[in-house]
Amino acid sequence: MKYLDEFQDPDLARRLLDDIHSVVTRPWALMEVCGGQTHTIIRHGIDQLLPDHVELIHGPGCPVCVTPLEVIDKALEIASRPGVIFCSFGDMLRVPGTGRDLFQVRGEGGDVRVVYSPLDALHIAQQNPDREVVFFGIGFETTAPPNAMTVYQARKLGIKNFSLLVSHVRVPPAIKAIMESPHCRVQGFLAAGHVCSVMGVGEYPELADRYRVPIVVTGFEPLDILEGVRRTVLQLERGEHTVDNAYPRAVRPEGNPAAQAMLADVFEGTDRAWRGIGVIPDSGWRLSSRYRDFDAEHRFSVGDIDTREPAECRSGEVLQGLLKPNECAAFGTTCTPRNPLGATMVSSEGACAAYYLYRRLDITTAPLEASPVA
């Protein structure tokens, strides 16, 4: 695979940076929607290399960060039940719920397993017919299709001891919410390329028109990010606001129809709470009535868990781009990856963790602490 080399080429990066520097005439605030893009930006020091006039605001696109506290608490409750095998992607295990995380549940005897695909959880269910196997189905349009496929397979194969704890969210309603916030400073978006590889770009022209913002579909390697920034800034400088696909090697305008059909069959739209932001109308998916039997929330009767979050951290403002992580008083002091106040410091894709890990050198003299790579 040559992509890693080609899309991190320093000479090409320098050329793109030169282009960006030559184009910019005034300050612009861009938001990269996806946490994976945030990670790339900070890890490669891209934000340090851009013109001072170009500000990158880290958006709410980290699935770990925006999963509501009450959903984490539901996961902890289910994972603690006897006879349950609780399966999750790795980085959800360290997200604190109320007082503990999934690692601690495992330490207390719970059977919590890291899997790399929801289908792995389905295989575990097949191998353990006397146990209830639950998969933690969180994330955006990217993780939703395989989760939908897994539920579809479970029903097709007649596997009764598998269920999904669902907290899926969608990007376009979040963009809408950000733009309608009275505090919004965002002037252009780098849209999440892998989301668009599933959903296509059809939902974005309306947003670009209504809010008069350029939306550039962007990939995840350093050169992808720089090209996304370059195209967004070019549009802003020209007074344009169109949807542009800067990630054509992965994104077709129509997306992935098969994946969309699977989503339409298994899920239905619903209002969703976003951690740090609140409830955004029609911004998520839940299992449709046809698949309600596979809904872990109903199966384990945890629907009444309603967690209130104490006023400790300002990640809501960070997730909206209203506050840089290092502008929070708790950053690097009472809030660190070792003792995170919020999920934006827990996940390695969280804006606060990314800042802490890669930029602490410039912005704080706090003593050395562990990073969120674990």
Partner: protein, 357 residues
């Protein structure tokens, strides 16, 4: 589900997050991950209970003086799953891991102890195969297993085979290798490709296919260290970057020495298979385990000669200079990225977790 909110009416300063987890009332896997949680367990539980000046140095091995003879003493436990993996086995690890811990003090391992904890029901043929690989690894490393012990735990209370080995070896006269000797200006050398062992284990443990079989780099480093010492005895520090990988090892050295460390990320040798596997899983190769690599801090005047000696040895063919010790940012490790930016390479908390997307 809370009530739907009109976002325009929301005061974002009121949006909040949960209070942090301040401690771990029970052991979690991260306590064995070689990062901050491991260090806290040792510093807060074991070291105060055991006491002792030597232990407080917290090296991979203890440098001791007994009857006027300087020796290194080390112990390590092996709980790897699966027991046999591409490029090695738990038997190979049990020898090479302890031999390498001794080598990082400049000592050539002489004798090992070997303690087996077997699970009831494990096939005898498996135990025999582990023992054979362990014996063969000891012969290759030039170390003799001279004492041992066996315990059996009930079925379900182990993972087939656990092994503990301890080793001793003599430290040559004039050799003083420890992190406290690092000074700004020292050159940082890594002996070859990083992250290979961790990815090899992950590929078989999790059934992940990366398009090419990756074999563990498991190897005994005593010969490579001998070759380095033949050039100069003035090696400041050697570290065997196992759990926590190169990133954790460099942080330990930076903290112990008080020096800053700068590495050029583009100079760190990461083989394509490891880079691709890490990209797929969202892991950083700097924190992936190695079992046959070392990182050395060498006085600048000896760096070329040491690098040449390493490259002349089969286990150091791909040795590279990756950075230097500096006066700036004491106790911190900083990477210069390929694009010209900088980032902090921090101490991991525990084991890396695959990212969700």
């Amino acid at each position: 589900m809370p009530e739907t909110t009109q976002l325009t009416a929301v005061d974002p300063t009121a949006w909040t997050c949960p209070v942090a987890l301040r401690d771990h009332p029970r052991v979690v896997m991260g306590h064995g991950g070689g990062g901050a949680l491991s260090a806290e367990l040792v510093q807060h539980v074991f070291a105060p209970a055991f006491g002792g000046e030597t232990l407080s140095q917290l090296g991979d091995s203890a440098a001791l003086s007994l009857g006027g003879v300087r020796m290194a003493f080390s112990t390590d436990s092996y709980v790897v799953r699966p027991l046999f993996f591409p490029g090695g086995s738990i038997g190979d690890l049990a020898v090479n891991g302890t031999v390498n811990d001794l080598a990082m003090s400049g000592a050539r391992a002489a004798y090992l102890s070997c303690g087996f904890i077997l699970e009831e029901g494990v096939e005898m043929s498996v135990v025999a195969r582990v023992a054979e690989t362990l014996g063969a690894a000891a012969r290759r490393a030039g170390v003799e297993v001279v004492t041992g012990d066996t315990k059996v735990v009930e079925s379900g209370h182990g993972d087939g085979v656990f092994i503990n080995t301890a080793g001793i070896g003599l430290i040559p006269s004039g050799v003083d290798i420890r992190a406290q000797r690092v000074v700004p200006g020292d050159v940082v050398i890594v002996s070859g490709d990083i992250g290979v062992h961790g990815v090899a284990i992950m590929s078989v443990r999790e059934g992940l296919e990366f398009g090419v079989e990756i074999e563990s780099d498991c190897a005994a480093l005593g010969g490579l260290v001998d070759a380095m010492l033949a050039v100069t005895q003035d090696l400041h520090v050697l570290r065997d970057p196992t759990r926590g990988g190169l990133g954790a090892a460099l942080n330990e050295i930076a903290v112990a020495s008080g020096a800053g460390v700068v590495i050029q990320e583009g100079d760190v040798p990461v083989p394509p298979a490891v880079a691709n596997a890490c990209a797929i899983l969202g892991l950083d190769p700097l924190y992936v385990a190695n079992e046959g690599k070392l990182v050395a801090f060498v006085p600048r005047e000896h760096a070329d000669a040491v690098l040449g000696a390493m490259r002349a040895h089969p286990l150091g063919v791909n040795a590279r200079v990756i950075g230097e010790a500096v006066e700036e940012h004491p106790g911190m490790v900083v990477a210069r990225t390929g694009l010209g930016g900088t980032r902090v390479v921090d101490l991991p908390i525990g084991e890396q977790l695959p990212r969700i997307c």
